[in-house]
Subunit: 280 residues, 2 copies
């Protein structure tokens, strides 16, 4: 496994790989790798000749009041996990090489970036699309692997790729969960013992939504109201949003139908967690 810090060097190396006819699978991460990331890495390995993982805590996608500084950076463990899962190349740039002095270009997906998580995290998705555009140009992968847990992120990146004609396929892999149902996230580390139990309300609420929809409830206002009731029973949990939207354009649905995304964001203490499910 090679670790490369210089974008230009990685690009030249991977251009050679592409020219030799080998396919490249790419998994961009903020590090703090967990089974969710590993499922992407495994899939990338199954689908491609070469697997590239980037580890970069991207400051552009953190708001000024957010957790950039405390975000976990267990680099040694991350690299061991990459080695174990047969990653070929780890791209490990520093902030200065990604955002040198004079940097001033932003890539923004208008509309989609303001909805759902975009309400409480203004600028977040613009930071994501900007860094992903950079990474796609550096790595030139054949396939980009993203996790369904960050549903809105995956939808926005897919939109950017289509709009800007990036020649790459996107594969979105299912959310990986703990046995108790909690969606695995690097931010779960912030949770104390009781908070981890409180956080189960996310997957329980999504299960309730699935049950209601299976029972034939179509009215999204009614479903959302039932979810609110369930979540509000726990006084330690504060709802950020509950949304039932079209899974391609994030438009709110009045009635369940087509591919609909049920998405939640709640605060457990100071930690903001998200989860979602797609119901067909």
């Amino acid at each position: 496994m090679r670790i490369i810090r210089d974008p230009g060097r990685l690009n030249r190396l991977l251009k050679g790989v592409s020219r030799s006819g080998k396919s490249i699978g790419f998994v961009p991460t903020l590090g703090a790798l967990h089974p969710g990331h590993l499922s992407l890495i495994k899939q990338a390995g199954q689908d491609n000749d070469l697997v590239v993982v980037s580890i970069f805590v991207n400051p552009a996608q953190f708001g000024p009041q957010e957790d950039l500084n405390k975000y976990p950076r267990p680099l040694k463990n991350d690299l061991a996990l990459c080695r174990k899962h047969k990653v070929d190349l780890v791209f490990l740039p520093d902030q200065k090489i990604m955002y040198p002095e004079g940097f001033s270009t932003l890539v923004n997906v208008e509309g989609l970036s303001r909805l759902l998580c975009g309400v409480s995290r203004p600028g977040h998705f613009r930071g994501v699309t900007t860094v992903v555009a950079k990474l796609l140009n550096i790595v030139s992968p054949d396939v980009l692997y993203l996790g369904q847990k960050d549903a809105q992120q995956a939808i926005i990146i897919a939109r950017m790729i289509k709009d800007l004609n990036f020649p790459v396929k996107v594969k979105v892999m299912p959310t990986v969960r703990e046995k108790d149902g909690l969606a695995i996230s690097s931010r779960n580390e912030y949770l104390g013992g009781q908070e981890k139990k409180d956080a189960l309300v996310l997957s329980r609420a999504l299960n309730l939504a699935k049950v209601l929809i299976k029972e034939g409830v179509k009215d999204t206002v009614r479903i959302i109201s039932r979810l609110k009731q369930l979540i509000n029973k726990n006084k330690n949990v504060k709802i950020d949003y509950i949304a039932i939207v079209d899974s391609t354009n994030l438009k709110p649905l009045k009635r369940v139908g087509g591919n609909c995304l049920v998405a939640l964001s709640v605060y457990i203490g100071k930690t903001r967690l998200i989860d979602n499910v797609i119901v067909k």
Copy 2:
């Protein structure tokens, strides 16, 4: 010479070209090809195995009050010129395939895009950088050819390419002029007989700037004031801006030094013309 309208098809074809080890030179245009464009095409042919020219009147870079509809579109003549100058591939997309329903991604170079021409053309450079990002992803050229006449455009595109890590070199070719000094531009077509004579004030003013600088005048306020005097003698010409700026970051200079860009924009009747010179 092949004419290709579909971005996906062009991308697959050119990927094959790259994989075979051939280099691609790319000249993006709005059509209405003139000797300025042809100098880029010739240079691209000298430097590369394959030359791609795009012809696309990009609506995203025209303001609502601007000349999108009357912009010249002499397609037959453009294609003949491409054939004559041994272009290998012409990319000729339509508006719908470049900006399909739901399109919502914008690439913006902050700061630089608001200066000089950006003042009277808000959104213009964002339209340029967005379409160039698309074209670079579709064509994946080794070298991108731009004209010095659109100095700010070249600076902004180079900034975007650096910031977003597009793996492409930029070559900026000198402005091509009529014998009388008028910088060649597709918009010169809008000028009537007297207006074409009035337009000579642009190159005359730039020549005056060069003379003053050669004589040792360093104070940019003084130089600009002399240029204003010269231009204002002609009542048919209205100054949009006169600027003496650093040619890398467009910051106004108090004193001439380093690589300085003297840039002008004036209205001749309803036609807005630009010209510039770099003084070392």
